[in-house]
């Protein structure tokens, strides 16, 4: 599975996070992170996003994270959803539940 286009998931509501992934070719993860709780949780949000991307096998992407205090489980879910939307995969297709999707 590979990013083909920009994929976005999430909202700007309180306790949610909006994640956008765009494919790039430079082999880098270019992360832009904004968060209402950046002072206390910025480091953890960054780690959660990077871990999720690694698990999904994303190695080259522009990643925009706009967080409004989402919990780690929400952040993971939004990154995964943005990824599969960016992959333009068949919505009825097989998803790796319990594998890379946790």
């Amino acid at each position: 599975m590979e990013l083909k286009a920009a994929g976005t998931a999430g909202t700007l509501e309180s306790s949610d996070v909006m994640v956008t992934l765009e494919p790039t070719n430079d082999g880098k993860i270019d992360l832009t992170l904004e968060s209402s709780v950046i002072n206390q949780y910025g480091r953890q949000i960054k780690a959660t996003v990077l871990e999720s991307l690694e698990r999904l096998g994303v190695k080259s992407a522009k990643v925009i994270v706009n967080d409004h205090g989402a919990l780690d489980c929400t952040i993971k879910a939004r990154v995964e959803c943005a990824f599969y939307r960016g992959c333009q995969c068949d919505m009825d297709g097989k998803f790796d539940w319990g594998g890379v999707i946790r």
Binding site: V37, N39, Q40, Y41, R43
Partner: protein, 523 residues
């Protein structure tokens, strides 16, 4: 030097000069100054022996000039007009336009309505802020180290003590009033923007060298009974509007329908009912926040079941407590501030609803304020730590955005102080290991009620016994903190620079904590 709540108080803060030469000490624990003496400071006031018909001046500018405001002076304001206030901005504009600088603002509180002051701070015209509340742009610029001297933040009672003791000397007090006569007898009722009471302005009227009453409604002399007495007033100015009436008095806060708030309120009421002070003739104060306000509703059936009545309620008054009194369940309401139109309407007509001064309410240095006889107070918090210290001033980003208000005063005075707060707010853990800033010391906080359980301060063995006897479950506060961190993760410590931007005074005038300049976040 570490103080009694374990906070490091830098020498820079302890060296801050007070007007009377008193030296700052670190907080020593509650009751430290009990039984000691103070010499009250007195203002230098002008003699008006010759009869005069009127004290009215044509404009605020004329009053600023007549008062002889000069560089380096301290001017004061009250916060009864809340977010509808026009007075602070109108007066400061005239002072600034006259080219006067190095001004200290000593207000009972400041809020979002005062954003223009931030610019005067950045320009170095306002160099000192002494207040309870600091929010909005002003909180932001002060947190970024733009104010020349550290802001001094006090509780409502602590402010009266500081004025009476002379820690702060007010050169000119500007008192906005809904009505006044030509001699400065001022009331909070009968005008275009009524605020109910003028309690917080009373010490200013008694201890400032010069006092100016600003009103938009002149009434015939004598405007009695006055909140601010004309004998303390030098000048009266009539303006078009003292504030926005809609923001001065908001409609009654609707009782919360949030099930989490209601559950916490119900549990709080049960804790109160289990305490030995819950008997006929008890006294009570609660805030206007969602869960605190809802406690009124759950307390009523418990009072009925026991066949008891409340003797008196104090504090910021809301329609909810007035309603309870109308049902014959509260003897007297003693009012220091009105939070809604219901409370203002009530004090207009109800003979058992009285105005008190800020000193009578909460001053720790007089001979016994109302808070000293209070049985129960229910309060909110931004954060509570495992030592029961409470923060109500700094947000999770370390920026100033709150007010100690009467929190530390009522917490120390009341026999039982209950903090009601959800365990988490979004991703923020309300119950944490260390609060960002201590605004009410843990030795004054007795019970914490959250949506995940109740904790009692181990110092209060009597309350623990009472809850056990009533079968009310409680847990160690550490357990609540661990639960919170398991939900949201352990927060990183905030990053600050070294500069002290604000001093948090305990109500006795020692230093409870300091706030340092915020450092932009770096990974």
């Amino acid at each position: 030097m570490k103080n009694a709540v374990g906070r490091e108080i830098p020498a820079e803060a302890l060296a801050v000069e007070l007007k009377n030469g008193r030296k700052y000490e670190p907080y020593q624990g509650k009751g430290y100054r009990d039984g000691k003496y103070i010499k009250k400071a007195g203002p230098t006031t002008k003699i008006y022996e010759n009869p005069q018909e009127s004290k009215i001046l044509p404009s605020i500018r004329d009053a600023v000039i007549a008062c002889g405001i000069k560089d380096g002076m301290t001017v004061s304001f009250h916060h009864h007009f809340r977010n509808g206030d026009y007075i602070v901005n109108m007066v400061m504009k005239e002072i600034v336009d006259l080219g006067i600088k190095d001004i200290t603002i000593a207000a009972s509180s400041l809020g979002d309505a005062h954003d223009p002051i931030a610019e005067y701070i950045e320009k170095g015209i306002v160099t000192g802020i002494q207040t309870s509340g600091i929010r909005g742009k002003m909180g932001d610029v002060v947190s970024h180290g733009k104010l020349k001297t550290p802001a001094i933040l006090r509780s409502h009672g602590g402010r009266v003590r500081a004025i009476e003791e002379g820690d702060v000397h007010i050169d000119v007090a500007f008192i906005g009033a809904p009505t006044s006569d030509e001699y400065g007898n001022a009331r909070a009722l009968g005008g275009k923007g009524d605020c109910g009471v003028l309690s917080y302005a009373v010490p200013d009227s008694e201890y400032a060298d010069k006092v100016v009453v600003i009103t938009d409604t002149l009434v015939p002399y004598p405007n009695f009974p006055p909140s601010i007495h004309g004998v303390n007033v030098d000048y009266v100015v009539k303006v078009d509007e003292i504030g926005n009436p809609k923001k001065i008095a908001s409609a009654a806060a609707r009782m919360t329908q949030n099930p989490r708030d209601l559950m916490m309120a119900e549990n709080t009421a049960k804790v109160i009912a289990a305490c030995p002070w819950f008997k006929d003739g008890f006294s009570f104060q609660t805030g206007a926040g969602g869960p605190s306000l809802a406690v009124n509703r759950f307390l009523e059936p418990l009072m009925d079941a026991k066949g008891i009545k409340m003797a008196w309620a104090i504090g910021g008054i809301t329609a909810a407590i007035c309603e309870l009194q109308r049902k014959g369940k509260v003897g007297k309401i003693i009012d220091v501030q009105d939070f809604d139109t219901g409370a203002i309407e009530d004090i207009r007509t109800n003979p058992n609803h009285f105005e008190m001064t800020a000193s009578e309410y909460a001053n720790p240095a007089n001979k016994g304020a109302f808070v000293n006889k209070l049985d129960f107070v229910v309060l909110a918090a931004l954060e509570v730590d495992t030592d029961f210290n409470v923060n109500v001033i700094t947000g999770s980003d370390g920026v100033l955005r709150g007010a100690p208000g009467g929190h530390p005063d009522t917490a120390e005075g009341a026999k039982c102080c209950v903090i009601v707060t959800p365990l988490t707010r979004g991703r923020m853990a309300t119950i944490c290991e260390h609060v960002v800033t201590v605004t009410t010391p843990g030795d004054c906080v007795d019970v914490v009620v959250t949506d995940y359980g109740t904790a009692v301060n181990p110092r209060r063995k009597d309350i623990i016994e009472a809850l056990d006897a009533a079968g009310i479950k409680h847990v160690p506060i550490k357990q609540l903190q661990e639960k919170a961190y398991s939900l949201v993760g352990k927060p990183d410590d905030l990053q600050f620079k070294d500069k002290v931007v604000a001093i948090l005074e305990a109500r006795d005038g020692t230093i409870l904590d300091v706030v340092k300049e915020i450092k932009p976040f770096e990974f």
